[in-house]
Structure formats: C-alpha cells, structure tokens
Assembly symmetry: C2
Homo-oligomer: 368 residues x 2
C-alpha cells in the first residue's frame, strides 16, 4: 500500500525549495517514497505529489489494475489508453490539481521527450528534482544502516568465496554468473548493478561491461559488484593478481590503497565531500599519477547504488551522521591496467566513521 | 567502428522535418545507427549528429577509453570529469558546432532532468525525436526480415518446448528462467524483454511481472516472451490451459483468437494501422467484451521490441512493404483472467502479409 510516511519530510523539502509538485516515474526513488516500483515501458506513467500533500497517479490502462493495488480505493487515478495517448489525461490532471503555472520538480526517470510533450500541453516551470529527491534519503536511519551492514557482509562473503573459485582459463562471464549465484545463495534480494569483471587491459576502463575476456596467468583482475538487501545496496571493488604481482603492479596497487585509506581517514562528520575527494587526489597526484585517476572518489549509496552525497571535487556538502558513500579512488592507465579498492563507509549515528566492508585490502594472489 | 551507412537516410529525414541535429543517448536506436550501445549510468553521454553530417560524442572521462574504440581517431570528442560536471563541455560542443538557436530532436533515452539543464545552458528549440528516429528503421530490408524470421522461429521453438515442460506446481519464476535457458540453448543473443509468465488471475494484468504465482490445476497460463537475434527482436504470446478448459474460458479464448485473425486478415499493404486495430476491436466489441480489450492491437518491432508502426486507434499511417509489427488483441477481465494470442506479422518485399510465428493458435491443454 502507498506509504505516506515520508510525506512530511517531502513537503518540508518542497516548501524549502519553493517547489509546488514533484513527479517521479518508476524508479528506486518512487519505491523509496511509496513502496512500489512498477516495471514500465515507453508508455508514460508517474506519481505527482503536491507540496500540500495531495497526489495523483497517471498510467496507461494496461497498468491500471497493477497500480490500483498500491493505492487506497479512492486515490485519484488518471488512466489513458493506447488509442488516445497520455496528453489529454495529463492535461486534465494538471488542471484538476491546479498545477498550471506552478513550479514542478522532475525525478530522474522522466524522459526528455515526455517533458517536451508536457511543455506543449500546459505552462509550468519544470526544474531538475534529482537533488531534492535524493535529499529525502541522504540521511539513513539506524535500521537502514543495519540493512546496509548486512548487504556489505554479503558482498564481503562473495569476494571471499571468489578467492577460492577464480582460476586462469575462466571467462569473465563465468565469474560474473558465479557472483550472482553466490549472492542469491547467501540471501541477497538481487544485484545492485551488473557486476564488473575485468581482466588484462580491460580494467583500465572503469565501467567495462563486455565480459569478453579470459583470465590469463599474470593477469590483473578487477572485480566490482554489490547486492540489494531489503531495499539497500552494497558495492565493493577489489583487485586480484593471478599467479603473482610485478613490481610496477605492486607500486600502483599500493598507491591506490594509500589513496583509499587517506580518503577514508579524511571522511569524518563535518568534513566537506570535496575535501575527501582532495585527500585521495593529493595522494595519487603527488606520486605523479594524477592523470590516471579518472573517477570521483566515491558516490552516495542506499536505496540506489549511486545517489547523494557524491564524493567529488565540486561537492561542498559536509558529511553528516547517517550518510553512506563509497570510497574508491582508482588508477587507470589506458590500454594497460586499472586498479581500485572500494569500500562503503558511513558516518554512523554515534558520529563515527564506520567502514562497512571487512574483506581484506591486502594484496591477493590467486594461484595459477 | 562508427557506421555512417545510415547517415544519408538520417540527413534526409532531418531536412524533411526541419531538424538541425539529433541527440541519442545509449539505446537500441544508437546501436541501430552506429553499431554501439554503451552501458551508461547517471552521467550524461550522447551522440549529436547534425543535418549536414557532422557529429560529436560527449561522455564522462570514465567512459572515454570505451567510447573512443568505436570512432575514427580524429572524431570530435567532448570529455568531462566528475569534478566539473557535463555542463561546460556540452556548452562548448554546442557552440563549436553552431547549434545554438537551432532545432534539435532528442531520442528516447535522454533524461528530462538533463534537458532542463541543457535549456539553462544554451538556447535551442528541443523537439521530440522519437518518431523521426523510429522512421529511420520502420522499413526493414530483406536481410533484416530474415533475422526476424530466425528470431520468430526461436520463439516458436521455445513455446513448443514449454508445452512439454510446464506442469502444475511449478512457479512462474521457474518457467521464466527456463524460457531464458531455452533461448540461449537455441542460439539467441539474449531476451528482447523480461518474459511475462502469468497464471491464475495474474494474467488480467497485461504486463504482470511479479513472478510470484504457482501453477495450479485448471489455471489459465499466459506466456509472452521473445529474444534478440543479430540485433532483431521476436515477441510471441500464447495462452495455455492447465488440465482442461471451461466453457467460459473457451468462449473468451476463441474470441481473442478470432480478433487476432481478423486483424491479421486486415493487415495488408496500404491499409491504415488504425483500421487494423479497428478490425480486432470490432470483433471483440460486437461480442460485448470491448471494455476488456485494454491494449492497442499491436506494436512495430525490429531493433527494439516496441517501435513504429504502432497498431493503435490513433495511428493513420498506412502499412508498407518492409514493416513488421505484432498483432495481439487481448481480453483482460480484472481480477479474473486475461488471454491473448500474439504473432509477429510483416508486409514482406513481395507485398504479401507474412505471419512469422508458426506455433499453433489452437487450444493447448497442459496435462495435470
């Protein structure tokens, strides 16, 4: 059933940001707010919530029975059919709710082409609502953090199992499927994203997803994966060395680990996200490898695997109790090698910096 | 490598529609035009193509190595990093390419929140580019149709195998996993969408995806699935009856089948899509069940499982040689039962209406 428990906080955020309504399509954001996250298609559907706590849902007739199950019987529904398109229904809804000429914030899954259609239908000021909606969940409760601790423990366990599973000759694809099997066997609800398994030179591409490689002796193997557990995500990266490690590899890996440790050390309550990013960046730059540190130091995590707070150079937000984020500086030398160590870190409700992942950050050598 | 072979047709369409540039994010549309379809995240990335056949690609630094592999060495790239955000790079690109104040058509995967940011950065007229981009592939070549024939044959084979596999007591989830296994074993490249397996009253919801049901004796079981083969999709639906069929079930199923046959019969070269929809609708309405026919009669299919031409009441486009689409009128009685028969139909290059799916439309009774 539609959960109104987050409505107070949302109303407050909307008033503070002078927003009259928010619009969210199927997404983790919608699930966080309401408990449901329908599987959609190209047909427009969304929940509109006004700052004075009214709402309506609009969807195609083929989803009407699915969606009504989530709402009270008298909930305002606007249902359109394929022969009409959604324009007239949406126009009527926006008029009925007095939203013309109002300031409306859109969630991350609303399509630009639907916004263009909306702009031609009625006059509103549309704004980017991503930050506002992420603000709703940027501070995790103690119960949320417990779910994240469990999700992290599952990820640690999968990493541990992989040290015994992985052998040269295996394909990236095999390892990827094994990761999913291991998570399911351990009680995860699903993956938080499609695992990244990258050997050879594939790992210089941080989000490599081709799964085309075969593990060779002396390879460097990058693993990056996570699960979802009771709504909350985990995310861990480690770099394994197949049959030994060269001096140069050890130098790069040690530096990535030092940068990671420096950022974790910097990540305290009250410290700005950009300063945490800077701590990792300084460490890598002063060793002459700044050009190979491509990504932000980390991203917030919770109901989504990427959400606020972003640990990047342009984010001046200060860390607060209840925030959860990854720390994952990486070194990627194009066409050669990429390495990173990633843990999820939280500022817990005692104000301590707590690293959720316990799996070792020491050099792991996989037997040939 | 970036494939310019579709550029002539795209330029022509852009000129005809007075469009100065099209913008496509990662999508099947991008893959159709260029051969690549990157896995993205929330970081903005897109290909801009101008009507005078220039282009540039913009992406985050973490995707730069992946993306450069697809382009000639001197291709114009605009790369932004997490510490900056994409705004300045995009503004520079749009200025360099003389696109300010121009008319720009957006593809289906560009996010509304990114469009809002773009509108604050530079002045352009943004339009919905979905129809224009679908037009690029609405007419399939003979080679395309051959791939679709193979994809349909694989789907027919899976349906055939399922008649022997399905038994009462199985879960919807088990059958769903079996469908994927069967497709892979037969040589499909992947699924065209997450299969719909809906028993009991679940099938009155046309896009039911909860996979929570268990097949019971006397159930009606709706199956809707397809695969991708060399880029092209299949899509088939059938309704099975577990351990027998009641008189009322037979009446509904027969009517769904008659409506499907009437629409297939109507679907000839030169006939309007809305008239094909009307043929199915007339059949169901005259039997007093019009309120339970929720969906459009069909959708175009090809590189995407849903694309133009849509076989719906508001589409006056005429069928032409090379068009491919589903015919799938359904009868859905909320909370009770849903049934449909779906085949992919093409107007082939001899001008004939060819039904790609060969699996029987007769009543299938699964042994208890």
């Amino acid at each position: 059933m539609f959960d109104l428990s987050k409505m107070d906080k949302l109303s407050g955020l909307m008033r503070k940001n002078k927003i009259d309504a928010v619009v969210t399509g199927p997404s983790n954001t919608l699930e966080f707010m309401t408990g449901f996250n329908p599987v959609g298609c190209e047909r427009f559907q969304a929940l509109f919530i006004t700052c004075d706590r009214r709402y309506f849902y609009i969807c195609n007739l083929i989803y009407a029975e699915d969606m009504r199950r989530w709402f009270p019987e008298d909930a305002p529904f606007y249902v359109w059919n394929d022969g009409q398109g959604f324009h007239e229904s949406l126009k009527k809804a926006v008029t009925d709710f007095g939203l013309t000429h109002k300031r409306i914030a859109l969630g991350e899954t609303i399509r630009a082409v639907d916004l263009i259609d909306m702009e031609s239908l009625f006059s509103c000021e549309f704004v980017n609502g991503v930050s506002l909606l992420e603000e709703l969940r940027i501070i995790k409760t103690e119960q949320d953090l417990d779910k994240m601790r469990t999700a992290a423990r599952l990820a640690d366990g999968v990493m541990e199992d992989l040290t015994r599973f992985i052998r040269p000759g295996m394909t990236e694809k095999e390892i990827k499927l094994k990761i999913e099997d291991l998570f399911m066997a351990k009680g995860a609800d699903g993956l938080s994203f499609s695992p990244i398994v990258a050997c050879g030179a594939n790992n210089s591409r941080p989000h490599y997803r081709e799964d085309a490689g075969v593990i060779a002796p002396k390879d460097v193997l990058l693993l990056d994966f996570g699960c979802r557990y009771q709504g909350f995500c985990s995310d861990i990266s480690r770099t394994f060395f197949i049959g030994g490690i060269s001096t140069e590899e050890e130098r790069i890996y040690t530096l990535a680990g030092e940068a990671q440790a420096a950022a974790v050390k910097k990540a305290r309550e009250g410290v700005r996200c950009c300063d945490v990013d800077r701590a990792a960046r300084d460490c890598i730059e002063k060793n002459g490898m700044g050009d190979y540190f491509l990504n932000r130091t980390g991203h917030g995590i919770g109901f989504d695997v990427h959400e606020a707070p972003y640990i990047s150079g342009n984010n001046e937000r200060c860390l607060e109790r209840g925030m959860a984020f990854s720390i994952e500086p990486g070194i990627c030398i194009p066409g050669q090698v990429g390495m990173r160590v990633e843990d999820i870190v939280v500022i817990n409700h005692q104000g301590e910096t707590e690293v959720l992942n316990q799996f070792t950050r020491d050099i792991i050598i996989i037997k040939e």
